[in-house]
Amino acid sequence: MKPETERTIRDVVRAVGLWHIWGRLGWQDVRLKFRRSAVGVGWIFVNLAVLVASIGFIYANLLGQDTRQFIPYLTIGMILWGYLTSSTVDGGNAFVHSEGYIKQISLPIYVYILRFFVSISVTTLIAMLAYVIVAIVYAVPFRAGTLFVLPGLVMVMTASLLLVTIFAHLNARFRDIAHLASVGMQVLFYVTPVIFPAELLRPRADLSFVVNLNPMFHLLEVVRRPLLGGVAAEGASYAAAGAILVVLAAVAAVVIATNQRRIVYSL
């Protein structure tokens, strides 16, 4: 192993071990974000409620959907989509926003990736409480199979961490990347079943590929299906989600290896 690679691995391991630092910073970011507002963390719920109410009402009618199934579907979809968008678009600024620390204090820079990851993950988990309320209101059944949501969540969170890692490095060097990611996520939003049910496209031979070949769809499914249906997602979804993680991990490794020594110079 090259000494370079060895040092990088040592830095990553050291960063992970400093959980009391990134845990605190990330948690603090969440608290401070809402401190000066009257509604506070409630904004997460207000935001979600307004979106789900407006989109839910229109699309349920437009697409002839039963609101009892559509609203929970939409809620969890929007929460997960928001999480993945934060990971890519806002994740691009993970290093940029920690510049003050990076240039003053000798900690491995990965601490600041984990900090950002904690902050968006906590926000997302709080938003999940909104889903729980929606699920109760709309009497979504809770079965033993619902627990398949846990491995699903682990997969989505891993994807988020890898996305933050990739985009934090790239955007620190090329500030266009965050904008590019924003455009990309917007396009993906319209072609991924979030505000329309996958079942509308899947039976159609000409359009089913939009769902079946869409990696984002499968990443959503490993959480959404167990929550909504109380069963594990399709095998294909787990396979696809697993493949996404492998690809993201490989990309993250390359991005770290090629950029890690340059990050501090590009801030």
């Binding site: 009391h20 630092i21 605190r24 910073l25 603090q28 401070l32 401190r35 000066r36 003050g100 620390y101 990076i102 240039k103 003053q104 204090i105 000798s106 900690l107 060097r173 090329f174 500030r175 266009d176 990347i177 590019l180 020594r261 340059r262 501090v264 110079y265 590009s266």
Partner: protein, 246 residues
């Protein structure tokens, strides 16, 4: 044993290219298959030095000579492009006292955050936080967000926290505190204690009269190279004479 070793270290900043690389220029460069000549500033040039446990080293030189860059390299913040940096021991860098605050957080929260970043354990912080608060002399102001602080108050807070660490390697960059006269006096004393606790101190300074009392060895930097390295009294004397001549 804590030690610092730099072996033929070259460090350069790419001004222009690295700072303002856009995707567009990167793509163009890739397409054209040759690299646009980047403007580089060589901050450290083929620099080698060893500092052993127990040494207190002063670092002097004009503005832009590379003092701060050298300290940041020793801290592991800037990875050099060539050469080897090997550091053993827990490094505590004290570079400036005005960045690294969470504006919306209270004084107490900022003490905890800063202390954690400087390497204190949560338990250690619990033990020391009252002492830090007392030294900062900020009283009730510690309960409000630091957004409302004056510059002097930031310095007090940061100084009180940063000097509470027990570092093995202490890297100081011109940190003689701002603040009122009484604070400066107590700050000097606290800084002395801190320097005595560390097993290696590297201290970049402009105040030549302070150095001899702190440092037994002094290094002079000029344009990124070491031009003198020896007992403080001799080095400072020659440095002053040279400055007068030029």
């Amino acid at each position: 044993m804590p030690h610092i070793e730099l072996d033929h270290v070259d460090l350069e900043f790419r001004v222009g290219a690295e700072r303002h690389t856009t995707l567009q220029t990167a793509l163009w460069r890739g397409l054209r298959r040759h690299r646009a000549e980047a403007r580089t500033v060589r901050a450290l040039k083929d620099l080698s030095l060893t500092i052993k446990s127990g040494e207190r080293v002063g670092l002097i030189g004009h503005n832009g000579a590379g003092k701060s860059t050298l300290l940041k390299t020793m801290a592991g913040i800037y990875p050099p492009q060539r050469g080897r940096v090997s550091i053993e021991g827990h490094v505590c860098p004290l570079f400036e006292f005005v960045t690294g605050f969470e504006m919306e957080a209270t004084g107490w929260e900022n003490i905890r955050t800063r202390a954690l970043l400087l390497g204190m354990s949560p338990k250690e912080i619990d033990k020391k936080i009252d002492g830090i608060a007392a030294f900062s002399n900020l009283g009730e102001f510690l309960d409000i967000p630091v957004r409302h602080y004056s510059t002097g108050m930031f310095v007090r807070l940061a100084f009180a926290t940063s000097t509470a660490v027990d570092p093995q390697i202490l890297l100081l960059d011109e940190v003689m505190a701002a603040g009122d006269a009484a604070f400066i006096e107590s700050a000097r004393q606290r800084m002395n204690e801190l320097m005595l606790r560390a097993s290696i101190v590297v201290f970049a300074s402009h105040s030549l009269d302070v150095l001899p009392s702190f440092c037994d060895r002094t290094i002079v930097l000029k344009e990124g190279r070491i031009v003198a390295d020896g007992p403080t009294a001799d080095v400072v004397r020659t440095y002053v004479q040279d400055s007068r001549l030029s």
